[in-house]
Structure formats: structure tokens, C-alpha cells
Symmetry: C2
Subunit: 142 residues, 2 copies
């Protein structure tokens, strides 16, 4: 038997807010399935040249009360970026809290609008520690 | 900026049970990091020839009380297999409940020991519907 990874799926309460969040990270919609009978939408998003590893957003049109506001059960989605400082600036400028700023030039954590934890890692060697990240405290957990 | 998917991380209560579960699916340990000071282990597991898309298991040596027993917040991990019937038989023989049997020869859902939902999809065309799956009812949700 052979096995191949396809995607990670997460449920979202507000599709627009969540898609805007992942677009800030650099993901684009690659595929969409609207199910009128089941009243849900499935949206696949991936980074350019990384379409084989999408995140799948499940949006139930009539809401999804079973969604907890926070979950430590699911860990996180991780993405590698070639410039963690530029990415964190983009996120911060858009009002996203940098829960774990990249103090070390290497790793940061943020949360999606549904509090899904997202890890960001600098590709290759860490960048030199720099402000405003060095002085920025942690916020919450991730 | 460029972005690349790295892994999905999930927290586990019992590392042996969870690794045994993912080994049943066909994943192998590809990388491990033991942190004595932080008292946690990180184990990366991936299918052969699919090492670029691992699942990361986080195991806290002193337990992790924040783990809910079930979570609809996180969706699922999805894996494609070349024989969904053989894989479901392997899982069933090992005592894993097939929450959503592959009635349609195409899709099944199971749960990890921490109730992490795992989707299994037949690669390519669905197989012809077959017993025991046709007659097998659903169990719980996924």
C-alpha cells in the first residue's frame, strides 16, 4: 500500500475573515466546492508553487456551533517563509496579533480568526535579531 | 515573499498509541527532537516518498490537561491511498473503528487515539462498492 498526504482541513466561522487572513500569509484559493444541498463550502488555499499542500477551509452556511473558541487539541499549521520579518510586518499592519514575535529571527506564531494556531518559520538560517521584535512581548499562547 | 507548507502538528496524550495508529496508516518516523528542559518530544512522521508533508506529534512528558477529548475545531488530516479497502481492513483488524466506512469505494474516516479525525481517500477512480463496507453503518461523527 502507498500513502500520500493531501491536505489539512479546518472549520471556519467566518469565511471572508479567514480567507483574508490566509491571503495575508500569501495563500491563494486553488479550488472550491459549493454544496447547496449540504449547505457548506470547501475552499482549498495554497501558496504559489506549493499547490500540492493546501489547507482546506470548511464553511457551514448555517454556522457551526460545535466550534470551540480555542483548541489546544489541534496543534498548528506551519509555513516556511523567505522573510519572516516582512511577513510579520504585513500581518501586524493588518491588525493581526503576533502572539509569539520572531525574537530570534526564526520563529513566530499567530492565530487565524478562529484561533487556529499558525507557525511561521524563516527558511534557511535565522535572520539577525532586530526591532521591533526583540522588545515585543508574547501575547497569550499559541 | 514566498511561502511553503511544512507540517501539521497535533498534540497527543499517549505517544506509543498514536505512533502505532499512524504506523498502521503507513507512516514512519522521519525525525525526532527530545527536549529534556522543556520535557517534551516532537516526532515527525510521513509516508515513504512523501517526507515533505509530515505530521508532527507533540508529546508533553508530564501530560497535557488542556487537551479536549474531542474537537470539531480542527478538521482532519487527509491521506490518499492506492487501496482504501486494504487500508481499512488493516485498521479494523487492529481494532480501529471505521467511523465512516468506504461505502462508496472512495472515502473513509477514522479517529486517532486522541480523536483526531483522519480522512482516507482512494487514489484515482473509486473502487466498486463491496462488502463488508456496504452494510457497515456509520459510527459517531468525524
Amino acid at each position: 500500500m502507498s500513502l500520500k498526504y493531501l491536505h489539512t482541513m479546518i472549520r471556519v466561522k467566518n469565511l471572508d475573515k479567514t480567507m483574508a487572513f490566509f491571503e495575508l500569509l500569501g495563500l491563494k484559493e486553488t479550488r472550491r466546492h459549493e454544496n447547496e444541498k449540504g449547505r457548506f463550502s470547501l475552499i482549498f488555499m495554497a501558496a504559489p508553487r506549493d499547490e500540492d499542500c493546501p489547507v482546506e477551509l470548511t464553511y457551514n452556511w448555517d454556522g457551526d456551533d460545535a466550534l470551540p473558541s480555542d483548541s489546544r487539541h489541534f496543534g498548528h499549521l506551519a509555513y516556511e517563509t523567505n522573510d519572516i520579518y516582512a511577513l510579520c510586518h504585513t500581518l501586524m499592519d493588518a491588525g493581526v496579533v503576533i502572539n509569539r514575535p520572531p525574537h530570534d529571527g526564526r520563529m513566530a506564531f499567530v492565530r487565524s480568526p478562529d484561533n487556529i494556531s499558525v507557525e511561521l518559520l524563516q527558511a534557511g538560517e535565522p535572520q539577525a535579531p532586530a526591532e521591533p521584535w526583540i522588545s515585543m512581548g508574547n501575547t497569550g499562547h499559541w
